[in-house]
Subunit: 427 residues, 3 copies
């Protein structure tokens, strides 16, 4: 395995080896800053400091990219590069991303904006960016070879377009696409409506879904895996590392989600009814919407769901594929349920002191036990709630609806305090 | 392999071993009965004997749970336990379920009902029940560790809530969830509208979809399988063991379906047009509905489709993934089509009398041939229709639409009698 | 491996061996012609020469089946048989299909038409045809064993029905279904509205999706594969072998797609917004439609999307599962990104001159390099665009929208000529 420095510096080294060089200092001086995020924690919403007013989104375990105004253009600067991303405390993965993290920062702009997005390539191979769902001139669509030359390592390209729509979109490479998306290259792209009162909600969250196949104890994903992934993430984070969603009682909440894995994810919200208000194709007319508690999000789709947070409590929100709310595990283990393993344990115990027989009575014990894990992996089922082990992983988090929660306060309010006699009880 | 008695008694034995004990006899005396179903056959609809009137559903290969009224509450009693379920004549699986079968009994209640559901755990590990889609107090939502303490083996918990909605829901554990659902723990939950004329249909069917990975010749599922399942069921039954759906000509029919497997199931109905009338989020407004003949049902989704049975005949109804209408098979067999195997057969036949070469001309022969199968498995393609082998398995059944079928008569009317000259003919 | 002649002649040989014989010459004489297509190229739309007027569709890499009128009936003649299909230049597969190709010819007819479709079986095993989505008498529904006797090798059956609906449908066997669809047996079936002005568009394309598991260097698919396919096709073609879709600026375009693989395909169109106008269940009411750029098409579903081609350029159109825009590859290769392989290359280079280390910097090099491939396979990532390698495969093609494109002209107009300064640029 390569060490951290080699992995992160691989790009420039390779770029040099390729003779590609970097953009000149003079050119760099003219470019807007390309800020780097060091943390996987949710950052405070980025209130617009210039340009049209909008109501900013909150990115789960993420941040929004600052811009500068120049001659009427909003200028952003993305840098594609190798990153180390903490998936959850205890496990870090070596991915590719933008500006220090995977996924990259959320880009927020407003219908009618003219945007110029600089993309600097610090990867060891060429890349491009496709602005998924955006109606723009064909030459800015970012399909390498088809709409533009590839961006070689060390080079910077500029994309320019005027936003003729509002909605929920994403960006990702359209170059060596399977590999680059399997390595975590993607980001949310939100275009706010020109009139900031239109489609207004009290809380506006967003995240993208990605999956990885990382052998427990290693840090790098197998990039050719088509089906048998073992890490299912929201914004390259897994439970219990995914931010909670916090809302005040009776607030209107939007959650914008996109899928860049290799399978559908049916996202289920407990205790509340929602409807899909927006796709990557635009806003869904009111009369065409369906009442749902589980929305199946296909690959290459964005879904913005909206609901009224009309019931207080800690509500689970997760992908409903039970393997996607698990952390790394093998998928070929025999079922030991009902098999009396005591004799096996006796015998093996003599040879392997501390050997632990598993699964004779199901796997719930795994939520509680402390197994000897390899370095840099996570327990299959984990998380500690107010009533004990939650036994989850992967694409799972909690929506915390609280009376008296202040608008704009996203800090974790702790567990819900149940009024007496409102919890299922033993008889 | 453990024997039947060990498997079924595993729970109490383990419970004892764990020192968990059972609820006291006094407490048990106060609880409503927890009836046990011995048969996998469709039971007659349960007409309400107390409480609000409703039009009961019919559960494919299943039954509805009786209740008692107590001080204005409807009291049900589920018992989570190891069961043996006949998947189809010739194959029985050792699953976990409720009240003697997997899936558990359908729970039917009415909008406005106050329900108390006792859940007794006779499994060897802890469990909970989540009431999928129901809007209820957070403490009754059933996510172990998050909303309530786990229900230990031997203990009984009570869930209480008032139904503020009507529709199509399900129940399943939210504790060691992957394992417990992979073992078959689930049931349908139907909330009828307060006004029994609203949303009224002539026939109202329901079932859940589950999948298992059971090595031919064994009885217990591999619980860690994520993708490569070999048994695809409706209510833990496979063709030809799945009940037919019977309807009178021009009757209005509803079929409520839910998916707790690990992949989407596109359910296709031949000869009739339907629309999705209800999801687990509620009733779909008329103007938002789509005309369909194939509805893709994601995991953790319920879909109630409705149609007018306006064409007489025997109409196939099945999942459109062709592997899901097959019974157990290997998925890595080479294709022998076009390979002349006669010489191989000659040679092998001398060494292995009776050796049978397969697949040289396709696999249709398998629908007819009697292969030597291991005990307790099913032919890959099977079923006998009025015109010969149907060559199906898994998620396949027949919708029988008949003129003159009496309302409420669900008995198999036999095969459709085609008027002369109405069948595709040889020239 | 069998040779070409043996494969293609397998059917009649086997038929003879089975003693099934062919239909008599006299009978054959009375049947309409069953024309054979030699080419995988898109054929010019088939303007109706008799019967009601309609606006014909264009089948990607396909053709429509001519018919004859006889006593008020439209008579078609399909022949099920072994075929060789070029998937793209450089790779040919041995499939089963109809009338010389897989998929079979598109069948076009008109609401109100009385159709008689003769089906001759030249396969080595029995077959039937199911007319997916069509409302017809049960005896014409084509489920072998259930609705009709199987059509034995060498025999011809006739299906007769009157079309009571218009829309987008398909045909495929319902006999040894898993095998026969895995071998490529399917075709599009379009029923035009009685009033040819209704639902009228300027361009009307159609295709079906199928997948195969073909070991590189071989020609025959593994028919038992359930998940791990390596060839993802539109009309049994892969990029760069799939026809481009050509449209004039601001024309109204419809694309009718159906899925007969074993997984969902989220079809993404760049640069344009569409809506699903028709399913296999009928036309979707205007007010129920959603704006989309990615439509998830489940197995056994048809989706007709419609859009205004209001932006000139070369727009990518593809399945958004990144592995489905790849040609054959292994899915278990370790990730070499960041691993310095120079020493490995040095050592191996001495033993294996020409040995090439791959993947150290990603896989984009594969879009450019000429690898030594086995005979009869395709590069994993391929295609050459105006700006270099496109690095795609599988389910990918280009929608070419051009100002001044003449109605009805489907010829490839070459690459889009970008006005100066309209392509993402290097800074």
């Amino acid at each position: 395995m390569t060490n951290r420095r080699e992995f992160l510096k691989g790009a420039s080294a390779s770029a040099a080896a390729l003779g590609a060089g970097l953009v000149s200092k003079a050119a760099l001086a003219a470019l807007p800053e390309s800020p780097v995020m060091e943390s996987a924690a949710m950052q405070v919403p980025l209130e617009p400091s210039s340009g049209r007013h909008y109501n900013p989104v909150v990115t789960l375990n993420g941040w929004s990219l600052p811009w500068r105004m120049k001659d009427g253009w909003k200028e952003f600067h993305l840098t594609a590069e190798a990153v180390e991303r903490e998936l959850a405390p205890g496990m870090t993965a070596r991915l590719w991303g933008y500006n220090g993290q995977s996924p990259g920062p959320t880009i927020e702009c407003v219908e009618g904006d003219k945007v110029r997005i600089y993309v600097t390539n610090r990867l060891p191979e060429h890349t491009t960016i496709h602005w998924h769902g955006i109606f723009l001139p064909a030459g800015m669509d970012g399909v390498g070879g088809l709409n533009q030359p590839q961006i070689p390592p060390g080079k910077t390209f500029a994309y320019e377009f005027e936003l003729k729509q509002s909605g929920t979109f994403m960006y990702h490479p359209h170059a060596d696409e399977m590999v680059q998306m399997a390595m975590g290259m993607m980001g949310s792209l939100v275009v706010h409506p020109k009139n900031s009162e239109q489609y207004k909600v009290d809380r506006d969250f967003c995240f993208l879904m990605s999956s990885y196949d990382i052998e427990p104890g290693t840090m790098t994903a197998r990039i050719n895996t088509m089906l048998d992934f073992n890490i299912w993430t929201w914004n390259s984070r897994v439970f219990p590392g995914i931010d909670h969603l916090v809302a005040g009682l009776n607030e209107k909440v939007r959650v914008r989600m996109g899928n860049l894995t290799m399978t559908n994810h049916p996202i289920h919200v407990h205790g509340l009814k929602f409807e899909v208000a927006c796709t990557d194709g635009g806003w869904v007319p009111k009369e065409a919407r369906w009442p749902e508690v589980t929305s199946d999000i296909a690959i290459g789709q964005m879904r913005a769901i909206e609901f009224i947070a009309d019931a207080p409590g800690d509500w689970a929100m997760h992908c409903h594929k039970s393997h996607h709310t698990m952390n790394p595990m093998g998928h070929n283990v025999p079922n030991m349920i009902g098999v009396d393993q005591r004799r096996v344990q006796d015998r093996l115990g003599k040879l392997l002191p501390g050997y632990m027989i598993m699964g004779e009575r199901g796997m719930a014990d795994m939520g509680e036990m402390v197994m000897q894990l390899p370095d840099n992996t996570l327990p299959m089922m984990t998380g500690e709630g107010p009533f004990g082990p939650i036994e989850m992983g992967g694409m799972f988090t909690v929506l915390k609806v609280r009376k008296g929660q202040k608008p704009g306060d996203y800090a974790d309010p702790g567990w819900y305090q149940y009024p007496k006699g409102t919890v299922a009880y033993e008889v």
